[in-house]
Amino acid sequence: MMRTVEILLVIIIITGAFVIASFFAVLPSPRQVSPTNLERLALTTLQELDVSHHLSGTVFKASNDSSWTDLQVALSASLPPNMVYNLTVYEISPGSAQLYQTIHSISNAESLGVSTGSSSYFVASSNVTFSFTPEKVGEHGGGGTLYILNCSDTNGWWITGYTTPKLAEDLYGLLSPYFQTTVMVQNTTQFEQILNGTTISSSPSENVSNAVVVNTCGEAVPVPSGYYATIGSQNSYAKYCYVLGERVREYNWTFASIVGYPLYYVTNTGLFPSSQNTWGVYGMQLVGAAGLNSFLQGLDNQTYVYNNNWITAELAGSVYLSSEAIYYCNYYGIYPSYYQTASRALPSSITSTYNLNVSNYIFNPSGGYLAGAVYTHTPSGAFLAFGLTRTPDIRLTAIGLLDYYRPRLYRSEYTSTGTSKLVILQLGQMGGA
């Protein structure tokens, strides 16, 4: 009998253990197992209400403004019916004892229940202007001069719809804040001067060495009178391109070709007044594919050999901006179309032929061809080429150069009182377990 009694005692003990274990091991309610992420829902709701800066506009208005009613209607409409909310706007007062002071609150319930989630969102007044100070290319030594070839005695090709001065003007607006000195090269005589290593402006910070030279004439390149041998000889024009490549290496320039086949023509309306490029544009002479080949030979300090072999390719479909270029589009706030057509894409094989490195892919490579990239030569010289189809988007050139030099933007500090507010949206769920 004792054994039975003992067993009953054991059963009582185990039962007690089970009851105690069950008491403490309380399983959560189904809502807690798979809760709606109220914090995320609140944040995305605030972002949604601010999509066109309506929220930012409303929180800076007086409490009796009708915009608050609209905001409440929009908030109620955007949340699921079982959701209760409290939206509170705080004034930020850095100088006072209380950093955040409530200025307005809207809610659709007296209580949000036990389980709530909230998110905060900073908004700035639309009356505030943000400013930034760009870092200048070359401000830490070396170069910093941007030359834009805006020669009045030249013509452009494959810039249909634009003129060289217009492109030069746009480029000036886009890039001059980022360079120590920006010089518009007004004619081929001035171009000859910088080819000879002479400065052309009165600016003390102009420096021919380590400069950037942008050719806004498209497929044509300005040729000064002293830089060609025989009129009508493609070989002589190719030699000029060779010399140009040499100068890029000697002065450590970054030379930019904005569209099409680089250096396909030479242009000088004074020298070739009656010559046209077979398409009716006068002041031009054909160099052909030899122009680019010669330029690259000069850049690589190779012996000049006349080579008129066509090396670019027409890519099927579109080419797309690289993720790096897109990042810098956002960073600098320059937004060209993210896809283009490229009918003069350079082969990546030129990197091995001419000892170049691709330092920046502006467009993603496609089948061994590069629609837009910066090629650097060791020890000096760089070449930015866009083998895109006309007409050019000069913003791509700006992005290409900014991607290459990456000047930083120092944004202004934003501490003005009354210019920013904190919005907190707290959400709770009604009904259910």
Binding site: M1, M2, R3, T4, E6, I7, L8, V10, I11, I14, T15, F18, A21, S22, A25, L27, P28, V33, S34, P35, T36, N37, R40, L41, T44, T45, Q47, E48, L49, D50, V51, S52, H54, L55, T58, S67, T69, D70, L71, V73, A74, S76, A77, S78, L79, P80, P81, M83, G317, S318, Y320, S323, I326, Y335, Y338, Y339, N364
Partner: protein
Amino acid sequence: MPEATIDHMVALTVFLAALLLFITLFNQTIQTAVLYQQHRYVASKCTDMLDNIMLNPGYPTYWGTSNATPSSFGLQDPEFTQYKLSPFSLMRLRSLNGDPVYYPKTGMTYSNITMGFGDSLLVPYSQAINYSAASKLLGTNNSFGFQLTITPIVTVTISEYQSSSPLIVTISVAGKGFPLSNSNISYCFLTVDLSGGSFPSYATSYGTAYTDEQGFAFLSFPQVQDDETCYALIVYSHLSGLIGIGYHQRVSSDKQYIIPFIDNFESGRVLLAHSYDIHDFGPPNADLKYNATFVLLTQDFTLREMPMENSTGMVNYGEMYSYEVVTIPTTNPGILVITYRKSAVEGGIILMPWGISSMAFSIVFGDSTAGREWIATDIRQVIVNDVAYQAKLALWSLQGYKVTG
């Protein structure tokens, strides 16, 4: 001695029975706890996966506007941050709802999102991203099933209050939980002229209005004096950042009409087919003359027409006739509007969104939730080209919940 033996036997029997009972009871508690943990894991996976889809554009970044097959799946608009989705990436998802459409002249099957007569989006299976591919790219293949639902937050419902002399329509604007009172309404009204000319012409008029406290508005169109006038009404409603879109058409030829099929996302190529090639409603049949245009929503909530090449033409049915082609001239979202004419008194108007948000189409992508054991869900408010949407992800485990112990 026998009493002691009996005592032992009874005690042992009772002890074993009690032990068995308690093992079962504890096991049930443990099983419930393990199930809770598994459910909790699925729920947190659901949240993570929803953010992963919403906050990542995929790769290639612009796969939504190209014909490329993504090697990484994400729906974020590559030109923005946060919860802004690409209207074109959404357009390339193969819809779970809607019967697929087979078009014999291309030999292809098309994913079908139809919101009513004349409001459809047909995307070729060959270019649409299917559930299986997305599941593999998300790394959930054979481990989790999911269904993603993207629905507009604001619903704009349009119905005829008076069909003619003049036409009066009722517009109802409501959100998920509340009507949108005092919301601004911008509308574009297109009427089709079936008489005269080689192709049907259309006239557009624009206007604005406000909803009342119940979210209703009435619009009157004196230019519609009879029940036979074909028209389309596109309405944009906006209030404090919330934007909703609604549309309504009236046609006089609903058996023979034009069906637009997307053919190429990158080039914006759209095929125009005669409905008889897809749905055989029986004779009598006729060719259809059409006139296509493309409209964009501008930032001031007005619609702007964009010229299109080859915007007029004729489609016919049968093997002797091919489809017609129009090319959408922009990569911005908008609406392709096609007016068609069967005869001097029969015709209509068809709308197709270019970018899913331009007509506030909703989409259901993924697998069916029917018969699933336990489903975790999570929601986010998202923006698709400024239009407010709600994204809901339902996720379940494909590996079962059997617990041993």
